[in-house]
């Protein structure tokens, strides 16, 4: 809310500088987000007096004037306005002046006559709404003075929180200033001179929805003359950020800013039979609102109507037909209290939220309906003339007493962690208008209210009863009073104290394992990325990453990590409209972005979530994905470049398994083809214990790279699942004693048909090696002469040994022979030693 300080000072004395005031308000919870110098953009605009005004010799529509600016020779200025006459004081923009909107004023020539500056309209200065005539200043405006000295202001931009609707006005903020400084609050004098016939002869009000309109106060003014408001009113409204319209509408807006009471003024002639009906709209009813949009009204909309139909949407916006116009003379004034929820829903439904509806939504002090009606009537009369009908229509004239709230000073101290005596608490509350007294009878303490009310007996503690001012609708429970006490006392005086109560039980952190894996991956050369969870539905369709359900074995003991896409029903853009199920597409996007920045060597990983719906319930799981493309080892003066390949990705997965205390993963080929390279895709699995890991590793299909417009020739992507990513603790290492007897190494070159995979060969060796085979490592892979084209040779180093003895030559030979015959008989291998 914009708060012009000159206006604020009408209600409270302020001795502080704007900066000091801003700080005090901020520390009181009324955060000042900015301090603006109003009029700072009227540079070199001074008060001048018109000496002569004559017709321009060559242009009918222009005048040539001489202007005295208090010093030096009078200036000759050409001007197009018609409201000027000698003797008037006017704002003069001197050559070199800069007006709002960065408009520069220079010495010019207009139709052959030199012009040494410009006379300004209110609109050009953003002071009033008048763009036609020159702004005529009061006769006592001192000649030559900078206009900003006279009409400049300081405007505080105060962020009033949603619970403090009462402070969304000058009076409300003046109350806060008074609380902060101890100064007295000055209410405007509100008195209405009633000279007309009784209001009942002009206006009838029929509230048919008393739940939604708890009070309606109506007044009537006859014989008003519509025109611009006085300049000072327009200036105030402009400074506060509201555009002046006419004297009657301005009176309504002025009261909204002054008292926080939105009211509405109707052209009385357009209110048929002088009858206002507050009701719900009927299906099919239409209304053209003030913004000249024709709206179809829904049945749950609360409207203001006359016997012929709607004339306004209650609390949100009036109708165009009953708008105050130039020829209006009869004015019906509405000052009502509407149900906040109904107003809020209506504002949302029509995407129409006004300054008025924002205030209604936050709830209104009940008595403001009466006070607001009187104040608008008073100002209308003052600014537009006419006569006021006698009395007011009031559908609920009984104003409730302030509510009373019991609290325990000791409990307040305990919440704040500071000893504040009951006497101090009472004094602090008094500063914000809350009177207190000792409880005379046993009291219930309101600990919580809706939506989960709780009241408890006060018990042994001292109890005070606070009388809550009617405007403080936010104070309903004991803790609310604690906050009042704390903020008036100053949060700064809260002592700082480190918690010394019991610690919670140990709990393993999900971050710890992730941190370990992240460090491992970074150490292995991959850079971490964090990408959007919301993706384009096209992205997922474009990728067709296979569903994990098609490979039930792959999931091991993991819960199903699949389901239907979760769709955002109000997305910001199609680009980010569904929750991703896989991370792979996001990583391809990262590669694409970096390729466009000229980066071809990309190795990135992400630990993030996948999301899906299963039976209308959301499901989330954590994944680890990585992507490699370009050079694994970029060329250097001491090394030639080496591109990333599938083996690098498998090496990373093997490294992760090591970090998680898992056995080496097993690999199963996946030759489905698109989106994978049909010969370079696999499912990896290391299933043991709570940290089991499984997932896919694949070089992507060239057609997929084309879909992503990637330049890279080869892109390897892996996406892995493991409970370790969600706080499962990796298996503990169990140490085996070092072997006491020497182990023996034997090398075997296994020549097999290409159709047999390395995994098969290795499994066969392990099966036949028995307990003596303590280690196995593939150290060479050979194809070519003298082997047949359909063959390959895999060279393994076997480590043989026993825990309890040194193996004899014969034992070793027997073991190797067993492996050899197993390989020969089971996969048709032949061997070279």
């Amino acid at each position: 809310m914009r708060v012009p300080l000159t206006w604020l000072r009408e209600y409270v004395d302020v001795q502080l500088t704007p900066e000091q005031l801003a700080e005090r308000l901020t520390l009181l919870g009324m955060e000042v987000q900015g301090i603006e110098q109003w009029g700072a953009d009227w540079r070199s605009v001074v008060v001048g007096e018109l000496l002569t005004v004559e017709k321009h010799p060559y242009a009918d529509r222009l005048h040539v004037t001489t202007v005295n600016i208090g010093s030096g020779e009078p200036l000759h200025i050409v001007c197009g306005a018609h409201n000027i006459a000698p003797g008037q004081r006017v704002p003069v923009a001197l050559p070199g002046a800069v007006l709002p909107g960065d408009r520069r004023i220079e010495r010019t020539e207009k139709m052959g006559i030199a012009s040494e500056g410009m006379l300004c309209s209110g609109d050009e200065l953003h002071i009033t709404a008048d763009a036609e005539g020159i702004l005529i200043l009061p006769a006592e405006a001192p000649l030559g003075r900078q206009l900003s000295d006279l009409y400049g202001d300081t405007v505080l931009d105060v962020d009033v929180k949603p619970n403090r609707g009462d402070a969304l006005c000058l009076i409300g903020l003046a109350r806060e200033v008074a609380a902060a400084t101890g100064a007295a609050l000055r209410w405007p004098e509100i008195a209405v001179e009633e000279t007309g016939r009784p209001v009942g002869e002009r206006l009838r009000v029929d509230v048919r929805e008393p739940e939604l309109c708890t009070r309606f106060v109506g007044r009537w003014v006859s014989g008003a003359a519509i025109g611009p408001s006085p300049d000072w009113v327009q200036m105030r409204l402009q400074t506060a950020g509201m555009r002046p319209i006419n004297n009657v509408v301005d009176a309504s807006n002025y009261v909204m800013l002054e008292l926080g009471k939105p009211t509405h003024t109707f052209d009385g002639a357009a209110v048929h039979e002088g009858t206002i009906i507050v009701r719900r709209a009927v299906r099919g009813e239409r209304l053209e609102t003030l913004d000249h949009v024709k709206r179809e009204l829904t049945e749950d909309t609360l409207i203001i109507a006359d016997p012929q139909g709607p004339i306004g949407i209650a609390g949100v916006m009036g109708g165009a037909e009953s708008e105050i116009g130039d020829h209006t003379t009869e004015i019906a004034i509405e000052s009502a209290i509407f149900d906040p929820v109904s107003i809020r829903r209506t504002g949302h439904r029509y995407a129409l939220r006004s300054e008025a509806s924002l205030r209604f939504e936050k709830g209104q002090e009940f008595r403001l309906a009466r006070i607001g009606a009187d104040r608008v009537t008073q100002l209308t009369l003052a600014w537009a003339g006419g006569s006021v009908a006698k009395g007011r229509i009031d559908t609920a004239p009984a104003e409730p007493d302030p509510s009373r709230l019991a609290f325990r000073p000791r409990r307040v101290s305990k919440l704040l962690g500071a000893e504040v005596t009951a006497a101090e608490q009472r004094e602090l509350l008094r500063r914000v208008g809350i009177e207190t007294e000792e409880a005379a009878t046993a009291q219930q303490i309101q600990v919580a209210v809706d939506p989960k009310p709780l009241a408890v007996p006060a018990g042994e503690d001292q109890v005070l009863v606070a009388t809550v001012p009617t405007w403080r609708r936010d104070l309903a429970i004991e803790a609310d009073l604690a906050e009042e006490i704390a903020r008036v006392r100053g949060y700064e005086s809260t002592p700082a104290h480190l918690p010394d109560t019991l610690m919670p039980a140990y709990r393993p952190s999900s971050l710890r394992v992730r941190e370990m894996l992240r460090e491992t991956l970074a150490g292995a050369g991959l850079t971490e990325v964090v990408t959007h969870a919301l993706v384009s539905s096209l992205d997922e369709a474009r990728l067709v990453w296979p569903e994990d359900t098609s490979e039930p074995a792959m999931l091991g003991n993991l819960a199903a990590q699949s389901g239907d896409e979760i769709v955002v029903t109000n997305p910001l853009s199609a680009q980010h409209s569904v929750l991703r199920r896989h991370l792979a597409a996001s990583l391809l996007d990262v590669l694409s972005l970096n390729e466009r920045q000229g980066r071809g060597d990309v190795a990135v990983f992400e630990i993030g979530k996948g999301y899906a719906r299963v039976d209308d319930a959301p499901r989330e799981w954590t994944r680890l994905a990585f992507l490699m493309s370009g050079a694994a080892e970029p060329a250097s003066w001491n090394r030639t470049a080496r591109p990333y390949d599938l083996d690098d990705a498998k090496g990373i997965v093997e490294l992760l398994c090591q970090r998680l205390g898992l056995p080496a993963p097993s690999y199963v080929p996946d030759s489905r083809g698109f989106p994978f390279h049909p010969g370079r895709a696999l499912v990896a699995r290391a299933e043991e214990g709570p940290t089991a890991l499984s997932g896919r590793i694949a070089e992507m299909h060239p057609d997929l790279l084309a879909r992503w417009d990637l330049r890279a020739q080869r892109v390897i992507v892996a996406e892995l699942a493991s409970p370790a990513l969600d706080a499962a603790v990796p298996a503990r290492v169990r140490v085996e004693p070092m072997p006491r007897f020497p182990e023996v190494e034997r090398d075997l070159a296994v020549i097999v048909a290409e159709s047999h995979t390395a995994a098969e060969v290795e499994a066969t060796i392990r099966r036949h090696g028995g307990a003596l085979l303590r280690g196995l490592r593939l150290f060479d892979l050979y194809r070519g002469a003298p082997l047949a084209a359909t063959e390959k040779s895999l060279a393994y180093r076997l480590v043989l040994g026993a825990r309890d003895r040194t193996l004899t030559e014969a034992e070793v030979d027997a073991a190797v022979a067993g492996v050899r015959s197993g390989l020969e008989s089971e996969i048709g291998a032949h061997l070279r030693t």
């Binding site: 987000q33 829903r345 305990k414 989960k452 480190l498 970074a522 990408t531 959007h532 969870a533 209308d616």
Partner: protein, 345 residues
């Protein structure tokens, strides 16, 4: 043959052997000299064959001289061998000289993203004060995200959170990590010290300081006497841990789920409190919101608000990371341009 001529022969032999040893050009010629003089068929042995012709009294004296000659030759050969070795080694080392100022063989190392790193850093600080990590779902229900946090439907405070809704009835993308408070309270008993990091979503157009996906860390502490003073003490420690010794400020804030509510500021990291555009000329930067858990929220968590009280705080991870690393634009984080990420070495 007599003693005199025999010993003269030996001395001559010694001299010759020593001369030849010191002149030997390489280890191979040393090998030959070794054989020629010192082997069983070597010249010293040959000379000693004449010892039988000497009177028995002279024989030991000749033997001693011969031993001396043998030792001297052996020593000379050894010396020369060492010399030759040193020469060869010096030459080899000289030939192996490299330009040590050349750069090394690069080791690929990736970098860690500042968002999880900052979250981990925050968790580390609060971990020292006994806060343990929980994580809640990102697709939340309206009840937990709003209603149980004392934000009923159609409450004006809902304007503080522009929400993205999903096609599962009653569900939305959580707008903050605060629903985690409810989940923690429902799953454990006081004393509670919980930390909830995670991704959040809002219906918000993207610019340099806003995004529709962002990260928060929520904290919750509940016990019998947990007070605003505890909150202040803890937040002071936190600010000092992350931003070094600088002033902090505690002022009223507003959240429906805390009462009293707090905004926590640190002295501007750019201007040090004098006032600059970065801090809107106030000298302060707000780093988080906090407050005493509202009794309604405690009740929804299954905790008796008459017996227990507690505080909660929530902060934007990007905000903290921005301040720590002077990141000028929020969009950098989810864009993943390697030129940005690789700066976090």
């Amino acid at each position: 043959m007599d003693f005199e001529s025999l010993s003269a022969d030996l001395r001559a032999l010694q001299q010759r052997a020593l001369d030849e040893a010191s002149a030997a050009p390489d280890p191979e010629s040393l090998e030959l000299l070794q054989i020629r003089y010192l082997s069983k068929k070597g010249e010293i042995t040959t000379v000693l064959r004449g010892i039988g012709a000497l009177p028995p009294g002279d024989r030991p004296r000749v033997g001693a001289i011969a031993n001396g000659v043998s030792e001297a030759v052996k020593a000379a050969l050894g010396r020369r061998e060492a010399e030759l070795h040193a020469e060869v080694q010096t030459l080899r080392l000289a030939s192996e000289r490299v330009d040590v100022t050349l750069p090394g063989r690069p080791r690929a190392r990736g970098t860690l993203h500042p968002i999880p790193e900052t979250a981990a850093c925050i968790a580390e600080v609060f971990g020292q004060f006994g806060f343990v990590v929980y994580e809640g779902p990102e697709v939340e229900d309206d009840l937990t995200n709003f209603q149980m946090l004392n934000i009923p439907p159609d409450h004006p405070a809902r304007d503080l959170w522009d929400t993205l809704y999903v096609d599962i009835p009653g569900h939305l993308l959580r707008t903050h990590t605060s629903p985690g408070q409810i989940r923690v309270m429902q799953s454990t008993r006081p004393p509670i010290r919980a930390l909830l990091p995670g991704r959040c979503f809002r219906y918000e157009a993207v610019d340099a300081s806003h995004g529709f996906e962002f990260f928060q860390v929520e904290g919750l502490m509940v016990d019998e006497g947990t007070s605003l003073a505890d909150l202040k003490g803890l937040l002071d420690e936190f600010a000092h841990a992350l931003f070094g010794p600088r002033k902090t400020r505690f002022r009223p804030g507003y959240y429906p789920f805390t009462e009293p509510s707090v905004a926590f500021d640190v002295e501007c990291l750019v201007c040090g409190g004098v006032g600059c555009p970065a801090c809107s000329r106030t000298g302060w930067m707000t780093i988080l919101g906090a407050g005493m858990v509202h009794p309604v929220v405690l009740q929804y968590g299954g905790i008796d608000p008459e017996r227990y009280q507690g505080f909660a705080f929530g902060m934007g991870v990007e905000r903290i990371a921005n301040l720590r690393h002077a990141v000028p634009d929020l969009r950098y984080y989810l864009e993943n341009d390697l030129r940005f990420l690789e700066q976090f070495r």
